[in-house]
């Protein structure tokens, strides 16, 4: 296949690859939503399927000294998309989504973690790569996509992405020979990036590890709240401020104690349902914790209360607790 044939075929098949790339991105984002990951928050760069430029395809197929037998079909990144996230943990989450989807077949993927094991002394480009093909020929947006169509998905952290952006153009495509000290500096940046990504991971783990998470307090309270009122709890940032202040009161007895209080207070469901439309505090399952605190740990509650007393006063009045300090 010569240059002209390659270009002609690519022109014909571009819409098919565009459709496949579009399908894959849309599907991954939809699956993220299904498992409760907000793609608008987690993805730091919007993933857009990108088709390979015809010239770059020709260059890769014929002139870069790669020994392809069937270059057009062996080049698997004719369409690709990139998922850039902040944390290593989020890479794992997206990998899991891709692995679990049954609509495509995938080649054994390239994963930097595996590469690190193979070459523990090397600090170089890191990313996760998948090559995805439709499991069966499918039709998407009116275009038939045969089972041989490929799409490359890259998943990386922001820092890995920054490194890739620098090295891809400046190093690998450099016309001149690169001096060893530049290679060395680039390797040092990757060592630093790997270290930093590790620290990020540690920070997030430490931030989210506290008795509130370890004991699964929020989901348990949410479900008690739902059962009691028939309404959904919508936790706001203010609730996290409250939990942080009263962390000392979180133990494995807490939810049981709150449940006991609820059982003894049949009017509580009505109170919450009545106030729900007008007062944000009552829309959160944390309100159950506050009621219990007002009954059982009132003095400490008032002592450390981090928000306006105007928020607490109506709640205290509703459950019949005097707080006239």
């Amino acid at each position: 296949m010569n240059e002209a044939d390659l270009k002609a075929l690519w022109e014909v098949e571009k819409p098919i690859y565009a459709a496949w790339g579009g399908y894959v991105v849309e599907r991954i984002i939809a699956d993220m939503g299904d498992v409760g990951i907000d793609s608008n928050v987690v993805l730091k760069i919007k993933p857009v399927p990108r088709l390979k430029d015809a010239n770059s395809l020709v260059d890769k197929a014929l002139y870069r000294g790669k020994s392809y037998e069937d270059p057009y079909n062996e080049i698997e990144d004719k369409v690709g998309a990139r998922f850039v996230v902040l944390l290593l943990k989020e890479i794992d989450q997206i990998c899991e989504i891709i692995n679990n989807c049954t609509n495509w077949r995938m080649d054994p993927c390239r994963h930097f973690a595996a590469e690190q094991k193979e070459e523990p002394l090397l600090f170089t480009y890191q990313s996760v790569h998948y090559i995805l093909r439709p499991k069966d020929a499918i039709e998407y947006q009116g275009i038939k996509i045969p089972g041989t169509t490929t799409c490359e998905i890259q998943i990386r952290t922001l820092l890995q992405h920054a490194h890739a952006e620098l090295t891809h153009d400046a190093i690998y495509k450099a016309k001149n020979n690169i001096r060893p000290e530049i290679h060395r500096t680039v390797a040092k940046t990757m060592a630093l990036i790997e270290t930093t990504d590790g620290f990020f991971k540690e920070v997030v783990e430490k931030l989210s590890s506290g008795p509130l998470d370890e004991l699964g307090i929020m989901p348990r309270l949410d479900s008690i709240y739902q059962l009691l009122t028939g309404l959904d709890s919508h936790t706001q940032k203010s609730a996290l401020i409250i939990w942080e202040v009263y962390e000392a009161f979180i133990d494995d007895q807490l939810v049981g104690n709150i449940q006991q209080y609820i059982d003894r207070t049949p009017a509580l469901a009505d109170i919450i349902r009545t106030r729900y439309p007008e007062n944000v505090l009552y829309q959160q399952s944390t309100v159950l914790f506050l009621c219990w605190m007002l009954k059982k740990r009132k003095n400490r509650l008032l002592d450390l209360w981090p928000l306006s007393m105007d928020l607490l006063q109506p709640l205290a009045a509703d459950i019949g607790v005097a707080i006239n300090e």
């Binding site: 207070t265 509580l268 009505d270 003095n299 400490r300 019949g320 005097a322 006239n324």
Partner: protein
């Protein structure tokens, strides 16, 4: 008795006055329309009521004594069931009764707020009465053109957040049943919050409301004393501190001039924040009410008379409570090291007096 999910359906006010200079009754002033609060005013009003009568407030349960046809408890029993029109008219009877009860010339007038609504689940009726003294104060005004702020003197203010300036009572129906039993105490619980709760204020709860202190006061006081003593003894603090707290308990019940006592009141006076909450929990479990109760030390007089401290070696110190508090100083000291090197805790006792006799 928990005032959970209190709703206020109707509020009406009347004004009562101080006796005139000759000591003659001044007729109260009647209003005919209900007070309509907007949302935030109503929220504040409810908070005032709960802060006066709710859990941990200074309110104490009372017993209905006067049950004649024109006595307030009987009026409550009738009026609470009346239509709005009838209620607006007959609520003035309370103002008349209060004006009659204010026999002394030094008693101030004020605004009498009568309100009704429901509480709890299932919903039960209640009738609330507030006598709010009128005082003066200032409001901040802002000139819309210059944005300058200033103060405006107001002569007729009432119901400030501090409940010291008003007396609040509520008759709370014990069930959804509307039948009237022979004894109104079987149908109504009465809560009273009166900062002054002294002989001077008797006109309000006795003369006006027709209520008295419950006969169970002595029993409640003893339960409070016994449970608090147990709690203090079990506290993880030094013996000296326990000694101070036990002295404080005696003083609180015996000497303190307030006629009522409560778990919350004692806790806030003598414990740190966390101990206050633990104490509340402990007393809940022991069945001591969270409302206030009238102090009646008749059952514990003997206990309060003397304070005792016992040592392991059968050495006892006992003294009248007052003398113990004022003349006995107890502090731990390090004893002489034992053979194995441990330092025992000894106690130094100072008695600020001389010996008159010994056996």
């Amino acid at each position: 008795m928990e005032l959970v999910n209190l709703s206020v359906d109707r509020i009406i006010i009347h004004q009562v006055f101080k006796r005139d200079e000759e000591g003659k009754r001044v007729a109260p002033l009647q209003s005919h329309d209900f007070v309509n609060f907007d949302n935030s005013a109503m929220t504040a009003f409810k908070s005032r009521v709960i802060n006066a009568l709710g859990d941990n407030s200074g309110a104490a349960p009372m017993t209905i004594v006067n049950q004649g046809p024109t006595d307030v408890p009987t009026l409550v029993n009738v009026i609470v069931e009346q239509s709005d029109d009838d209620f607006a008219v007959s609520s003035f009877d309370f103002a008349e009764k209060l004006a009659n009860a204010q026999l002394r010339r030094d008693l101030l007038g004020g605004i009498l707020v009568i309100f009704t609504g429901n509480y709890g689940a299932p919903r039960k009726k209640y009738l609330g009465i507030i006598k709010a003294e009128i005082y003066s104060g200032y409001e901040v005004t802002r000139d819309p053109d210059t944005n300058e702020i200033s103060l405006n003197y107001i002569e007729d203010l009432l119901l400030a957040p501090s409940s010291r300036m008003y007396k609040t009572a509520a008759f709370l129906s014990k069930s959804v049943d509307t039948d009237t039993p022979p004894d109104l105490n079987d149908k109504w619980s009465v809560l009273l919050s009166d900062f002054q709760m002294s002989t001077k204020a008797q006109y309000f709860h006795e003369g006006f409301l027709g209520c008295g202190h419950p006969e169970t006061s002595a029993r409640t006081t003893k339960q409070f004393y016994d449970s608090t003593r147990k709690f203090i003894r079990a506290m993880d603090v030094k013996p000296v501190e326990k000694n101070d707290l036990l002295n404080a308990l005696t003083t609180y019940l015996k000497v303190d001039s307030s006629p009522t006592a409560s778990v919350n009141d004692f806790a806030t006076k003598y414990f740190n924040t966390d101990t206050q909450d633990q104490f509340g929990d402990y007393m809940d479990t022991a069945g001591i009410p969270r409302t206030a109760f009238t102090k009646d030390i008749v059952d514990i007089e003997k206990n309060l008379k003397t304070r005792k401290v016992k040592f392991k070696s059968n050495v006892n110190i006992s003294a009248p409570s007052d003398a113990f508090k004022n003349l006995v100083v107890i502090e731990p000291i390090e004893g002489d090291p034992e053979e194995n090197g441990t330092v025992p805790e000894w106690t130094r006792v100072i008695i600020k007096d001389s010996i008159v006799d010994q056996e």
